[in-house]
């Protein structure tokens, strides 16, 4: 556990004042009618109605048993023979024989085949940290491994888009919570400069019951120092929760679930069901955050003699069943095009299994992105389980390998902020502390992000060598050397970009 640079809400500026909320005066009435309701406009957002659903897979998901690189099956099996999914049980994706999903995930298989699921392969960050706390903190704050941030990446976005939170909220422009987390303890992902930008609740009904309709704030006198800051914080939570209680209740009552959800204790399905109902009910919250725990499977990730079943299969089944029901619900509601979802986890797990039919903490694993808004279904490639292992197999005698990173997770965040929410790219760069190359998640066009040979996947935004279906752009300043026949649907070379033929090679395009 680290000790410094933790978010220090106590250092919050002392100029912050509570709204004048006295004598049990109802917040709802205050928010609507008071002269104090400010005229702050929601900062301009290009896509104001869009919603992001974040699914946290708590504990470190074993990506290699979720998205199985069938094309490298023998190496896959050799790395983890005691937990390997039999090749004939893997659920194929599309027409590809290269990759498939865990047999517990038919729902997500269908989503993929409908073009609504993207797999971002081998996601991690440089200098990965294998501590749950620290690595989760890195994913949630979006910091480098050697830097510490006190705010969450999504919280910073909301803080920037909705200035003056929480003092000036709810207001006429934003009556609803900025974000909703289903659960009990606010995630670091949603932390803004001073506090969580989201409302945390188990269910809308419970929330409304709990917060009631009256404030409990007698006066705004505050003692100094730590205790005064804490009292102020608690009061703010009281004010906000009451202010939002009726909005959430209204949306929850107006919204309906139109698809069937898995039962049998699928806690993720329960959460997403609430999210879908609130979206349908018109709640304007921009980000929803849900969680599925139990992925830290150092042992017993598969059942004794049946690698298809076991604790990990149960979790993946919950994930797949919940997400596919949610997507179907959105479709029937007519809200499908406004919502995308993404998963993240603490880290990946070792490519090599351990003797306890489990996997220890590892480096890279896929992120999943789902929704109709995606323009691309694979970012990066299957880890080939030879060149994509660390340490390289040749240099070490033991059988204990990790999967190397292909895609920095912040590149996905960057595409979401830029292309999904429509933030300006300079804004996104500052929210993520620096500029990250895009992954073309929401773009028809794949583009160069570096100079290099055409056949080198890291040259391309989507982390793959383009094929005949790809619209390709060679960006200014990049020289792409060609030492093989190439194919693409169309190739645009920007001014200042260059295709450099190192011999006579064929260029196959559709147009």
């Amino acid at each position: 556990m680290s000790t410094i640079n933790r978010r220090d809400f106590l250092a919050a500026t002392s100029s912050m004042v509570l709204p004048v909320m006295l004598n049990g005066f109802g917040v709802k009435a205050f928010a609507r009618n008071s002269a104090l309701v400010n005229s702050l406009h929601e900062a301009v957002a290009a896509n104001p109605d869009r919603i992001l659903v974040i699914i946290y897979l708590n504990g470190g998901n074993d990506g290699l048993n979720m998205a199985i690189p069938v094309e490298h099956y023998s190496r896959y099996h050799a790395l983890r023979s005691n937990i390997a999914i039999p090749e004939n049980k893997v659920l194929p994706l599309g027409n590809s024989k290269q990759m498939g999903l865990h047999p517990a995930m038919p729902g997500m298989q269908q989503l993929y085949n409908e073009g609504k699921l993207a797999i971002v392969h081998s996601v991690s960050y440089p200098n990965p940290n294998l501590s749950h706390i620290r690595s989760t903190d890195i994913y949630m704050t979006g910091s480098d491994a050697n830097q510490y941030a006190s705010t969450g990446w999504a919280g910073r976005y909301l803080d920037d888009r909705f200035p003056g939170y929480p003092e000036n909220y709810p207001n006429d422009n934003m009556k609803d919570p900025l974000a909703i987390q289903i659960g009990h303890i606010a995630s670091t992902s949603l932390l803004g400069q001073r506090q969580s930008m989201g409302v945390v609740m188990a269910t809308p009904d419970e929330f409304y019951q709990l917060v009631g309709t009256q404030t409990n704030i007698p006066v705004d006198d505050l003692p100094c120092c730590y205790s005064g800051q804490l009292i102020k914080y608690v009061r703010e939570q009281q004010v906000l929760s009451i202010g939002y209680g009726s909005q959430i209740k209204r949306a929850s009552e107006a919204g309906r679930n139109m698809a069937g959800y898995p039962e049998n204790g699928n806690e993720l399905a329960e959460q997403l069901k609430i999210v879908a109902r609130l979206i349908h009910g018109g709640l304007q919250s921009k980000i929803y955050y849900v969680e599925l725990g139990g992925f830290d499977l150092h042992s017993g990730q598969v059942d004794g003699n049946d690698p298809v079943n076991g604790a990990h299969a149960t979790l993946l089944s919950k994930l797949s069943g919940a997400v596919s029901a949610f997507q179907q619900d959105l479709k029937l509601q007519g809200t499908e095009d406004r919502v995308i979802g993404m998963t993240f986890s603490d880290f990946g797990r070792r490519a090599s299994s351990n003797a306890s039919k489990g996997t220890d903490h590892g480096i890279a694993a896929p992120m999943l992105v789902f929704g109709t808004g995606i323009k691309r279904q694979n970012i990066g490639t299957n880890p080939d389980l030879a060149n994509d292992l660390v340490p390289p197999p040749s240099s070490s005698g033991d059988n204990n390998y990790d999967i190397a990173m292909q895609i920095d997770f912040r590149r996905v965040y960057s595409d979401i902020l830029n292309n999904w929410f429509g933030a300006e790219s300079s804004k996104t760069d500052s929210l993520l502390f620096k500029s990250f190359k895009n992954v073309s998640l929401f773009s028809d066009v794949v583009e160069t992000i570096n100079s290099g040979p055409w056949g080198e996947k890291s040259v391309w935004s989507h982390g793959r060598v383009p094929d005949i279906n790809d619209l390709v752009r060679i960006n200014r300043g990049h020289t792409i050397s060609i030492n093989q026949n190439i194919a693409a649907k169309k190739i645009n070379v920007d001014a200042g970009g260059e295709l450099y033929f190192q011999g006579n090679y064929k260029v196959d395009t559709r147009e």
Binding site: L10, H132, N146, Q209, V219, Y226, S241, A355, S356
Partner: protein, 542 residues
């Protein structure tokens, strides 16, 4: 600022209450009175020596009245797999009951044990064997004031820990690194030092994992087994030398074989871990965050953590815990006004704290086991949705507000603030949890006890509403209320804008004739003001 110097003034009521709130799960009013006027050294000595009074309590009993063995112990009997979930709860309830105990002799024991249980986490959900869960919590209670090195050694070999952290599966051909990592990251040296430099390498994790191979648990959850225990299996132990990094001065721990190999190498490992300069600091910092303030700026690091750690690790002290706790709790920094009210109450400090503060007696576990169970259930099942599940923390790091950015503020969010209010609202309505056992504050009885010569209505004037308010709010908050708050609470809440004198008429009516109507006439005012005070943000800090 004097920091670790002994706090030299006699304890004011406020200071006595502060010490008791932090060192226990919350004081009774009598305990605050008893401790007022003592020196800090005397008060802390009492809190430490009182630990001996409850160190060996009767073991947990079966609390189901329908059971043929109701009221009898079960941890000493052959394992009953059909009861594993139920009996695990009884172990948990037994411990929560000890936290709420009101024998007039407050002690540091349970709060400190809770610190260690949140430090060396194991969970009943994973361990599943109630005997091992009981052994584990008993081990923590017995060693909580003892020697840290002994505690680490015992925890490493503890059967519940071996199961929870997969040490049980750690063998030479397939080392399982889980425990080896947490031992360093969470239990001893910490992942990084105060300047954010890593304290060990991944190779150190691998070396420690190999060193710890061979420990196993026998009879975990084996139905009918007489006991479950830890054994060392030399055949599963890696006998090669273990090389550690420069973080540990390139220590090599010699590989050993044979029946004592595990213990011998473990001793070497713990010596090495505790020699790491960050180990003592890591533990002292965590104690400071638990007892004093979660915020540790550079100034506190330099002037409190470092010297306390130096003392902890010194040759004379050699990692004894009790002197460290004594020094910390009786220091100037502990009583510094900034640190009073500087933490948000955990659900235990709120719930158990209310049970103690409002003198809700714990039923005798052996004689009144059903009432005892109901009493503890009342507490546990309210703490649980507020995100405190003792002996079943969500992750190996313990409860999130003890490590996550923001620390104790993580207890509070828009939902939990409502649950807290719902609980404190319930406290003002006494509820029968079992025949002849009620939980809740009997406000009328309390206020009547304040009235001199209660029945002499003509001769003795009634207590005023200000007197009543001051009694109800006494020691309820860490700070005095602002005059404006006091006025508001009296006039707007308790009197509901009626003249203050009305109270005296209403109370005298009750003194003259105690019936439903006269009682109701005063009760609603008392309920309103008590509920209101406990729902205030000020009540959530300690």
């Amino acid at each position: 600022m004097p920091y670790l110097d002994p706090f030299s003034q006699p304890l004011s009521t406020k200071n006595a209450a502060h010490l008791l709130r932090r060192a226990t799960f919350g004081p009774t009013p009598d305990e605050i009175a008893d401790f007022t006027g003592l020196s800090a050294a005397e008060a802390v000595s009492a809190l430490i020596s009182n630990a001996a009074l409850t160190l060996s309590p009767p073991p947990p009993v079966v609390m189901d009245e329908a059971s043929p063995v109701a009221g009898q112990t079960f941890t000493d009997r052959p394992f009953d797999s059909g009861k594993s979930n139920e009996y695990s709860f009884y172990v948990k309830y037994w411990w929560i009951g000890l936290m709420a105990e009101q024998n007039g002799k407050p002690s540091v024991l349970e709060k400190l044990t809770a610190f260690w249980q949140n430090h060396f986490v194991t969970t009943q959900t994973v361990v599943t064997d109630y005997r091992l869960s009981y052994q584990y919590i008993s081990l923590l209670r017995k060693n909580s004031l003892g020697n840290f090195k002994t505690l680490v050694s015992e925890m490493t070999k503890d059967a519940a820990m071996l199961i929870y952290q997969n040490g049980n599966q750690n063998e030479k051909d397939h080392p399982n690194e889980n425990y080896a990592r947490e031992l360093q990251e969470l239990f001893t040296v910490g992942q990084r030092n105060f300047a954010n430099v890593p304290n060990y390498t991944d190779a150190d994790v691998k070396a420690a994992a190999r060193l710890l191979t061979g420990w196993q648990v026998e009879n975990q959850s084996a139905h009918g087994s007489a006991s479950a225990r830890t054994v060392f299996n030399p055949d599963r132990h890696d006998t090669e030398d273990k090389q550690f990094s420069s973080h540990y001065n390139n220590t090599v721990i010699k590989g050993r074989a044979g029946a004592n190999a595990g213990d011998e190498e473990l001793t070497g490992l713990i010596d090495m871990l505790t020699r790491h300069p960050e180990c003592a600091r890591f533990i002292c910092r965590k104690l400071y965050r638990w007892y004093v303030n979660t915020d540790v700026p550079q100034d506190i690091e330099n002037n409190v953590i470092v010297p306390l750690a130096d003392f902890f690790a010194s040759a004379e002290n050699n990692f004894a815990l009790e002197p460290v706790l004594r020094k910390l709790l009786s220091s100037d920094i502990f009583f510094h006004s900034d640190n009073i009210g500087s933490i948000i109450k955990s659900p235990a400090e709120l719930l158990v704290g209310c049970m103690r503060f409002f003198k809700q007696p714990v039923p005798d576990m052996k004689k009144e086991y059903v009432a005892f169970k109901k009493y503890v259930e009342y507490i546990h099942w309210r703490m649980y949705p507020m995100q405190l599940n003792l002996l079943d923390q969500p992750l190996v790091f313990g409860s999130l507000p003890y490590y996550q950015t923001g620390y104790s503020v993580n207890w509070i969010n828009s939902a939990s603030i409502g649950m807290r209010r719902m609980f404190t609202d319930q406290m003002v309505y006494p509820t029968e949890i079992h025949p002849n056992f009620k939980v809740g504050i009997d406000l009328v009885k309390w206020v009547s006890s304040l009235q001199p010569n209660f029945s002499d209505v003509e001769g003795t004037p009634p207590i005023t509403c200000e007197q009543v308010f001051d009694a109800l709010s006494k020691n309820l908050f860490v700070h005095d209320l602002f005059p404006s708050q006091r006025e508001f609470l009296i006039d707007k809440i308790m009197m509901y804008s009626a003249p203050r004198k009305s109270w005296e008429f209403e109370f005298n009516a009750y003194r003259k004739n105690q019936n439903q109507e006269t009682r109701g006439g005063i009760l609603w005012r008392l309920e309103a003001v008590m509920k209101y005070m406990m729902s205030m943000a000020e009540f959530q800090i300690f």
